[in-house]
């Protein structure tokens, strides 16, 4: 069964997503809503990673994270860099979202109701995060590409 490996990769992906949010918080501190929301999302992502890591240790040990996505590219300040950083967040959040959807199926198949409940909740949460990333991109895009230096 590959699920322990898949879950290990998801734990790593969540931690990399959290690191990405934290980098964005630091690099774009002057963009208050981006910084504050990213700070909140980072905390949520770490909490999800910790909870899943605990579940792995308890029920699905021994996985390796080889399938995890690449780490977040270093965030840079500035309007155009913000678009790139949001795209990076979208990449990682997209991976994590899809992975939790996979876990919904796996948990269903295993009748692991605790994991199923956790995964269903997290799918919904990641949809919210992805929608926010998309919205912020659209909010900042025109100013960044048409006017900003």
């Amino acid at each position: 069964m590959q699920l322990p490996h898949y879950l290990a990769a998801l734990v790593t992906a969540e931690r990399r997503l959290a690191e990405g949010y934290e980098q964005v918080t630091r690099a774009h501190a002057g963009v208050a809503d981006v910084a504050l929301t990213s700070r909140s999302f980072a905390e949520a992502s770490r909490a999800r990673a910790d909870a899943l890591a605990a579940a792995c240790e308890d029920r699905y040990p021994g996985g390796t994270d080889e399938g995890a996505p690449a780490s977040f590219a270093a965030a840079q300040p500035g309007p155009l860099a913000l678009l790139s950083d949001l795209a990076e967040l979208a990449r990682l959040a997209g991976f994590v979202h899809t992975a939790w959807e996979v876990v919904v199926q796996a948990a269903s198949g295993l009748r692991d109701r605790d994991l199923l409940s956790e995964a269903q909740q997290n799918v919904s949460t990641l949809e919210t995060e992805a929608a926010w990333i998309d919205h912020k991109t659209k909010t900042e895009a025109a100013q960044a590409v048409l006017v900003a230096e």
């Binding site: 002057g30 963009v31 208050a32 809503d33 504050l36 929301t37 909140s40 309007p79 919210t128 995060e129 929608a131 926010w132 998309d134 919205h135 659209k138 909010t139 895009a141 025109a142 100013q143 048409l146 006017v147 900003a148 230096e149």
Partner: protein
């Protein structure tokens, strides 16, 4: 002072009345010393502009000057009464006025003429439009102008230039009222009426120190409280205000915990079986999600977070559940906080759950801060389209494009509109290179003032300020234009409960001052703005023609003005919109039939996620089939952006005093008001003062991560752990409360967080007597001096 005294007798003599009776008339009047009735040459009609009540007035004129004022007894808003600011504040217009344009030369503002000033403005504007396009321009306006002016600038900005960067200082005071209406009812627009106060059996005030912010509305409430069968009163406020002193239940919650309380009130209301299921089933969507999201929000849970007794929360719920006619008001205590929209939506939700919307005595009053804030919102001068049209609905954009005869692509609907906080960031970064600020003073009123000053003073952005005074903001501008103020021009504005007034010109403005309408028309003409057929934009030159243009724009929308005329407003006084052929005398309440403005083709918004602010898509919205039903929604409670820690152990909150309005541009120049509250103070609790060796009047320093201020301490009844600072006091010394506040805002309304910042407090030196804080208000000392 001649006539009424509203300094020591703030709310005036009581005229008690019972539910269902008409509020008795009481005319308040003030004439300056040496002027008698026989000296008054004319009384000019209008409405007060110094709080969102918008009391009907008549201005006394003699020798070409304003010499007094009186309330209009026939006016539906005030029945003749006036508060301290209404009675005396107009005198501030007679001192220290700008009389000529100013332009910056070699770093200094120097006097110039209109031609030079406007040429400089238009040259910079045209250059930037040619080189960088419309996104280089921003317009930051006010809640003090008139609908004719707002709509004119909306057309200039959105149909002529095509910039999405337009907002008002209404973002700081009333944006959440608009956002909460839109989320719940599908559109901005006050459901209730002030006459609901006359009929109700219960009043809930959520974060609303009405006794100081709308004194005449509080007089109306006091007259009910002192009459037969008085209403029960529930007050949510961390301070022991005059409202709290009259409350049946006072919930002095920690600032920053509003949503925890509101989720608990809704939870307990549902749990006690008090929901009007027939109404909810017929007229709302979202009940199951609301119930689920609040299922763990018990009174005991909220009590721990909010710092009040669970029994008091339950008592408040019991009052709401057992009343037939509740009026709820909601104001800055809720609006200027991190989960402002969600908390304010829960006020709407309480009423929907009990079927108490739009019927006599059962209403919602989401308050405004200024009497023309509503007009900025409805005219589309801010981050919205005129007439409560939907920014995300192409059909609504096409309507405007047809009305204005412009290409729909000129109207900047292809990106989300820009809120004030983001506009100032763009100005700071320099991508907005032309910022026009009209009738407002962000160098005192915005959060984190060091950042705002640096933005306005920098070379990266050309700043135009039109104002009546050389404010803290004007001092940082590149060009300053002298504006006509209230009663120096004709125009209309709309108060909290949709009451429209016409203010008629009483006197000429000083020197070369011009109305904002004239200034903007001049700017548009010099810039050569035009429609598709080369006709000038805007198409008008006078207030009445601008009003006619606005009426055409408002036709068929919730805020329909088509049935109004200047003549009718002159004769009657205040009239509530919508005013149409079907409702020629106005409309007292909205939604009495339980049909809301949520149809997808009509609504102003499809809504937002209340936690992140992400817009709901049209497809998602349609899937829920609102179709005229109200939307019940909330969000989970989260802690404030910044909470106390070891380094900054106290919670700052900011607010107002009864004697001043905003940054005191007018009220500090009105002697009775200025003498009543002459300079800055901060309020601390007895416990916090004792722990730091602070006594009444001692000079203290309050420090946050953004800056620090020094001021005398008033040891007051403010909640332990909380420091209160009035935000009115700018000036040379750094005394403004907003030196301390942080740059953060509610994700939906984008209204800044002014109600929570972590601070530390220390004594600097002994004082020499009482702090200069009022004695008759919430700022009263905790112990007799």
């Amino acid at each position: 002072m001649g006539g009424t005294d509203r300094i020591t007798d703030i709310w005036g003599a009581r005229t008690p009345f019972a539910a269902g009776q008409s509020w008795p008339q009481r005319q308040d009047e003030y004439l300056v010393d040496g002027i008698g009735h026989d000296d008054v040459e004319k009384w000019v009609r209008g409405a007060c502009l110094l709080c969102s009540n918008g009391c009907g007035v008549e201005v006394a004129v003699a020798g070409g000057r304003m010499v007094g004022i009186r309330g209009r007894v026939e006016d539906r808003v005030n029945h003749g009464r006036l508060g301290p600011k209404g009675l005396y504040g107009w005198q501030g217009e007679q001192r220290d006025r700008l009389t000529t344009p100013l332009i910056r030369r070699d770093g200094e503002l120097v006097e110039t003429d209109w031609e030079t000033a406007m040429a400089a403005i238009v040259d910079r504007s045209r250059t930037l439009l040619d080189e960088k396009g419309p996104l280089s321009h921003g317009f930051y306006t006010s809640g003090q102008l008139m609908i004719e002016e707002y709509y004119t600038l909306a057309v200039i900005g959105k149909a002529g230039i095509g910039t999405p960067h337009m907002d008002g200082n209404t973002r700081l005071c009333t944006a959440t009222a608009s956002a909460a209406f839109q989320e719940t009812f599908g559109s901005d627009g006050q459901p209730g009426s002030y006459t609901d106060i006359d009929l109700c059996d219960t009043i809930f005030l959520f974060g609303h120190n009405v006794a100081e912010t709308q004194t005449v509305l509080w007089s109306r409430m006091l007259d009910r409280l002192d009459g037969p069968n008085p209403p029960r009163l529930v007050c949510v406020d961390p301070r022991r205000t005059k409202v709290a002193e009259r409350a049946t239940v006072h919930l002095p919650i920690r600032n920053g915990t509003n949503l925890a309380l509101m989720n608990a009130l809704v939870h307990e209301l549902i749990a006690t079986g008090a929901v009007d299921r027939a109404y909810v089933d017929a007229h709302t969507i979202g009940f199951d999600a609301l119930e689920d999201m609040t299922k763990d929000a018990t009174a005991e849970w909220a009590a721990e977070i909010c710092g009040v007794a669970a029994s008091d929360i339950k008592k408040a719920v019991e009052i709401f559940a057992t009343s037939d006619r509740v009026v709820s008001t909601c104001s800055m205590g809720f609006y200027q906080s991190h989960q402002a929209t969600a908390a304010s939506c829960q006020v709407n939700n309480l009423h929907l759950l009990r079927g108490m919307v739009g019927r006599p005595g059962a209403g919602i009053l989401q308050m405004n801060g200024q009497p023309s804030a509503e007009n900025n919102r409805e005219a589309g001068c801010g981050a919205a389209l005129p007439g409560f049209r939907n920014w995300s609905n192409p059909a609504h954009v096409d309507e405007l494009a047809t009305l204005w005869n412009v290409d729909p692509l000129v109207i900047p609907h292809w990106k989300p509109p820009t809120d004030a906080m983001t506009m100032f960031r763009y100005a700071q970064e320099g991508s907005i290179g032309f910022l026009w600020i009209a009738g407002t003073n962000p160098a005192v009123s915005m959060p984190d003032l060091a950042r705002i000053r640096a933005t306005l003073a920098g070379e990266q952005c050309f700043v135009v300020v039109s104002d009546g005074y050389l404010t803290e903001t004007a001092q940082l501008a590149d060009v300053v234009l002298p504006s006509a103020l209230w009663a120096e021009k004709t125009g209309s504005y709309t108060n909290v409960d949709r009451t429209v007034h016409l203010q008629e010109k009483a006197v000429d403005p000083p020197g070369q001052s011009r109305s904002d309408l004239d200034i903007w028309i001049d700017y548009a003409r010099r810039l050569g703005l035009h429609d598709k057929d080369e006709n000038p934009l805007p198409a008008w030159n006078t207030p009445e023609a601008a009003f006619a243009g606005w009426q055409e724009c408002s036709a068929g929308r919730l805020c329909d003005y088509t049935g109004l005329s200047y003549a009718q407003l002159h004769d009657v006084g205040g009239i509530q919109w919508p005013v149409t052929a079907q409702a020629p005398d106005g409309t007292e309440r909205l939604y009495g039939d339980g049909r809301f403005a949520t149809h997808a083709d009509f609504c102003e918004t499809y809504g937002h996620d209340l936690t992140t602010g992400t817009p709901v898509t049209r497809t998602q919205y349609l899937a829920d089939h609102p179709d005229g039903r109200a939307v019940l929604k909330t969000a989970p409670y989260q802690e404030a952006f910044e909470t106390p820690d070891d380094e900054y152990p106290l919670r700052l909150t900011t607010g107002r005093t009864v004697y001043h309005f905003h940054t005191r541009t007018k009220t500090k120049r009105a002697a009775p008001l200025q003498e009543a509250a002459p300079s800055m103070w901060v309020e601390v609790s007895r416990v916090d003062a004792a722990a730091r060796g602070i006594h009444e009047g001692d000079i203290v320093r309050v420090t946050s991560r953004r800056g620090s201020i020094e001021a005398p301490a008033r040891v007051s009844h403010v909640r332990e752990g909380v420091v209160f600072a009035p935000w009115h006091y700018g000036g040379e010394a750094l005394t403004a409360a907003n030196e301390l506040t942080l740059t953060a805002w509610d994700p939906v309304s984008k209204q800044p967080e002014f109600k929570v910042a972590a601070v530390r407090l220390q004594k600097v030196r002994d004082g020499d007597g009482l702090a200069p804080a009022p004695l008759l208000t919430a700022s009263a000392p905790a112990e007799e001096a």
